[in-house]
Symmetry: C2
Subunit: 277 residues, 2 copies
């Protein structure tokens, strides 16, 4: 069959959704999107390129024929744009690049540590050992292979207010960048008590992945979800934009594939690794 339209061939996957999906209709389980929409002028770390969205075509190819309507756009971006993943190779020579990360490392039980009340509007706040221990006292030990989300409030309050509010500066001076992070004392506690190396340059050599700018944590329960953080598969990438989502079903399991006993999970060795910064 000869191609007569502008899309590429062979394996085509069709999502059957003429009527409303049952997921939206049911109360539970439910899907939660944890991803910011990519758009020009979104907050970028000063050293990275600005995201560019270019309209290639938007209109009728044959004027007067609505069936000839076409939209197509081009994108230019840093790999480290919006809600995105850092691959170990971002900071470690010879470590996994984006396309080398096993799929199973991109999903796990979601753990949301809410530190908003402690941070308030202090952009220099550093999350402490006490903050992490407070969470564990309330919800139990953080499960192995978790996806740990630090809910600072910064995203929900400031993401849409631009870089001055979100990053502390709209200039390219990285010395002016301020945001809540992890205190060295909290980090040390994790190292001493949870066998956790810390901060990017120690995390990444151990193939611990880091996601940044996760959205809509206000919709997330502290536990009982499975989180998926799925990057586009950039060959040789040091990172990539991701679609992050959670399935909230009251279970705390690995990849939504099993329903382990919560108490049993609490007894598993915790290897907790955290990076804020």
């Amino acid at each position: 069959m000869a191609a007569t339209d502008d899309f590429s061939p062979v394996v085509i996957l069709v999502l059957l959704r003429l009527h409303g999906g049952c997921l939206e209709q049911s109360e539970e389980p439910r899907l939660i999107d944890l991803t910011w929409t990519m758009e020009e002028r979104m907050n970028m770390y000063p050293t990275h390129a600005e995201y560019r969205f270019t309209i290639v075509y938007r209109g009728e190819l044959a004027p007067g024929y609505p069936e000839s309507y076409l939209e197509s756009n081009n994108l230019f971006m840093s790999e480290h744009t919006g809600t995105h993943l850092d691959a170990p190779a971002h900071f470690v020579p010879g470590a996994w690049r984006l396309d080398e990360i096993p799929l199973g490392h991109l999903t796990g039980p979601g753990v949301v540590v809410d530190v908003r009340d402690k941070i308030g509007n202090n952009s220099d706040y550093a999350i402490t050992q006490q903050d992490l221990q407070d969470w564990e006292r309330q919800y139990g030990r953080i499960p192995d292979d978790s996806i740990l989300l630090l809910r600072t409030g910064w995203g929900e309050w400031f993401w849409e207010q631009g870089p001055q509010a979100f990053l502390g500066t709209d200039t390219e001076d990285v010395n002016l960048v301020h945001f809540p992070g992890l205190h060295p004392e909290g980090a040390q506690w994790l190292v001493d008590n949870r066998n956790a190396p810390l901060v990017h340059r120690i995390l990444l050599p151990n193939n611990v992945l880091i996601l940044e700018n996760v959205a809509h944590l206000d919709k997330m329960p502290p536990t009982g979800s499975t989180v998926y953080a799925m990057p586009i598969k950039i060959g040789q990438g040091s990172g990539a934009p991701v679609r992050v989502f959670a399935i909230v079903d009251g279970r705390t399991s690995t990849a939504g594939l099993s329903t382990p006993n919560w108490a049993a999970m609490l007894s598993t060795l915790l290897i907790l690794q955290l990076a804020v910064m």
Copy 2:
């Protein structure tokens, strides 16, 4: 806390994977990556821009200090690159753009229709009503809200052999593009018997999404999986690169969230929509 490194702040998600993930170790359920790696010179439909991967930095920021190592890259691409999704707005004015697609429409039970034996090496083969009915006779009625994957063999045989093998041409002449597709008679059967409008310009107005260049279907069972096709969330996008993956667990369910009775599913109204071409 002041920023001292080149990544952006606030909510950081850490995947805890110091030791091997349990998903890879278990036989079932298992994760399958259905995504081609993005790289320069990959197959592109002739009218779309070539994908560009540009190294911004790869080396030690401070020579002699391995801890100063940094990799960072920029990307330029059409939205319709590699394994990607078409949003309804690609062909329909006022229809959903990429960022407007509800998350629940991006996942569903995976159905793999294997037509390789019938296609052979005929790049003009068109999938028939009979091919679809043959599948249903063997496996049962295609479930509602499925993600339907047409396994033509083209991807597994030709993707890595370049555009001449995969598309039929390495020129920009779209008239030379050939690949297997859906026959109008097969399409008509779907319309008449499965209430299915057909081909892109009819599918997309009904908010039926289309994925192209899905990879590694050789690893997929005909049924018993849940497929997730997760695009990066491009504001106003007409489409986007996706990470497509499946969880194979013997269940055929919506979003892996329930385990409906197979017979009950077969009795549900099938609204089958197919587009190849």
